[in-house]
Amino acid sequence: MSEEKTYVEDINRTIYDVIDDDSDAFKLEEGLSEDIVLQISKEKDDPDWMRDFRLKCLKIYNELEIPNWGPGVDGLDMDHIYTYVRPNAKMSNTWDDVPEEIKNTFERLGIPQAERTSLAGVGAQYDSELVYHNMQKQVEDQGVVYCDFESAIKGEYSEMIRERFMKLLPPTDHKYNALHGAVWSGGSFVYVPKGVKVSVPLQSYFRLNAKGAGQFEHTLIIVEEGASLHFIEGCSAPKYNVANLHSGSVELFVAKNAKLRYSTIESWSKNMYNLNSKRALVEEGGRMEWVSGSFGSHVSYLYPSTILKGDNSSMEYTGIAFANTGQNLDTGMKVMHLGKNTSSVVSTKSISKGGGINTTRTSVQVMPDAQGAKSIVSCESLMLDSLSKSDTIPVMDIRTDDADVGHEATIGSISDEAVFYMMSRGLSEEDARALIVSGFADNVSRELPMEYAAEMNNLIKLEMKGTIG
């Protein structure tokens, strides 16, 4: 057998790693101060309540401690993060009006192509601002609203937003929520009226190009009674040798008997601190589905959470995280059962390679009134070598005796037998391993639309390149 060792330090991420010149972008000075927050507020022409909210968040930010229970964030120095970088482009609803260089970036990422073939609407954010937003006419005619957050906050839905903005994710929750509240910029607002079923997904893509910058987009989705929506979020950035920060907020409101699926494929570059917060509130009979693929970032803190408030509401979480060399991914999910007969089904998978660290935290809370609640959590880890690390930390807090709660965790490695079997059919060792890992991720890719499943498989192949032979 050949003993070729092809260990490489970093994989080829050509399509993600192209850096655009940002010399003509407008940047506020780096760091975080009241003055900077006020400048952002002025740039965005905030309503007064928002300006005051930003300042309140800044105060909370300064009072809160950095979380001391997860991966270290020592490499992240807020004094050297540009919180606001406005690309030299106005938002447009036709790609022709998007500046060439920025358009090319999204072309490489396949966004306009996907829009043509498989999406009902697309929003594309570049650094701190959206540069493109468009939705198919027939979806618009159904009364669906999908627009950039800044327009939304001043438009017809301003009251609806004001009532909900950072109510699910209050700035007091943790330091980075407070940071988000102070400097947020960009993101999308989606409103699906009662009974409207959007059959084709909407997608927002977040691209962070500027070196040393932070991206703080806010996504707020309201799916009204009996309506349904699939929303896809994609993110990427080129790699720099300084820290970049992503601290987005996603607040999801799923009304009675409504259904929302929120899918994420994240391939941030490996200098990114991804300190992201997502939370959904589900009313009676509503259903929340999360599909999550985390491949990038240097450090991630990511635990989408779901509050099953209404009786008979349900959630399903299917997620995978791939930690390669230099990555410390702290991921998982939280669910809180408040209503009766609520149910949650959770499947997390993690893959660790080349010294990468995965920590999977799951938290299931069943409150006293949630009789008849059901929850099943399964955590599977795949270790590709002995350098890597994988931890599973389940928490269960059950406050009623009428609940059915289960948890299982497994850890495994790729068997030599399986590799030999595949190689005996002509696959190279690297391809055999990649195929086995794709198989491990199969339940996630099956939940994604075809194009995204293909992208995820490509990401897995990229990460599997240079596997020690």
Binding site: F420, Y421, A432
Partner: protein
């Protein structure tokens, strides 16, 4: 003898400290069907695994030439690309990898890239030979397959990958009469359509019923101890291996 495809000379193989093959010689010609018989522990499966390049099987001396090249210098995947194939007695289960995905990848690795449509058409045609349900294609590789299903899936791959030389390692063991007949038919079709050579390692004769056998080799204690034509199979069936086992 037709053009030589495989030539094994004085092959010695050990697993750990234990020597299993002790100077084995074997020649296979293009398109020929050879049967290898022998008592348990004689080294039959070791021969297959060594030819396929399994890691634990250490070749201590001897030579193997496959299509004029030194087989032992090649990695397992290179051997497959060169046209060597082996069925596994108990192929491993690989969760999440679909049968179709695996075989399509294999075909591509062996230089036969097919469109999805083309692949499906070809696959369904071969599956018909083996009475396999089309739903096989979407199942996870060997996962939860019955013994018979596993063996059929291996022969299905034989038909799809069209190797120059196939080693069938006890493909008929543990199968009922009907399943053996189906597997045997698959092997016959392979031989007829592809014209490849076969090394059939077996305990029973049922699989051989519909096949033309060119040569039979009896292996005992790591060596070929007897060779002959098809009649040797009948003789062993009647008398067992006793007379070949050294006291």
């Amino acid at each position: 003898m037709s053009q030589e495809i495989l030539n094994i000379e004085k092959l010695c193989v050990s697993i750990g400290e234990k020597e299993i093959l002790k100077g084995l010689d074997l020649k296979i010609g293009e398109g020929e069907t050879h049967v290898i018989m022998g008592p348990n522990g004689a080294g039959k499966s070791t021969l297959g695994n060594t030819l396929m390049g399994k890691e634990e099987y250490e070749v201590t001396s001897g030579k193997v030439t496959f299509l004029g090249e030194d087989l032992l210098e090649m990695g397992t995947d290179e051997r497959a690309k060169k046209g060597l194939f082996m069925t596994f007695q108990n192929p491993i289960e690989v969760p999440g990898v679909r049968v179709s995905e695996f075989i399509r990848n294999s075909c591509e690795a062996l230089g036969n890239k097919m469109s999805l449509w083309n692949f499906k058409e070809t696959a369904l045609e071969q599956m018909k030979v083996l009475n396999m349900d089309p739903s096989y294609l979407d199942r996870e590789l060997n996962l939860g397959f019955s013994g018979g299903e596993k063996k059929k899936a291996e022969i299905f791959q034989l038909l799809m990958l069209k190797p120059r030389l196939a080693i069938l390692d006890e493909t008929d063991s543990g199968l009922d009469v009907d399943a053996v007949r189906t597997v045997s038919e698959g092997v016959r079709v392979y031989h007829e359509r592809v014209g490849g050579s076969l090394i059939i390692i077996t305990h029973s004769t049922k699989i051989l019923e519909s096949l033309d056998v060119d040569r039979v080799h009896v292996i005992c204690d790591g060596r070929v101890v007897a060779e002959g034509d098809r009649k040797l199979v009948d003789e062993i069936n009647a008398n067992g291996f006793e007379k070949y086992i050294k006291a």
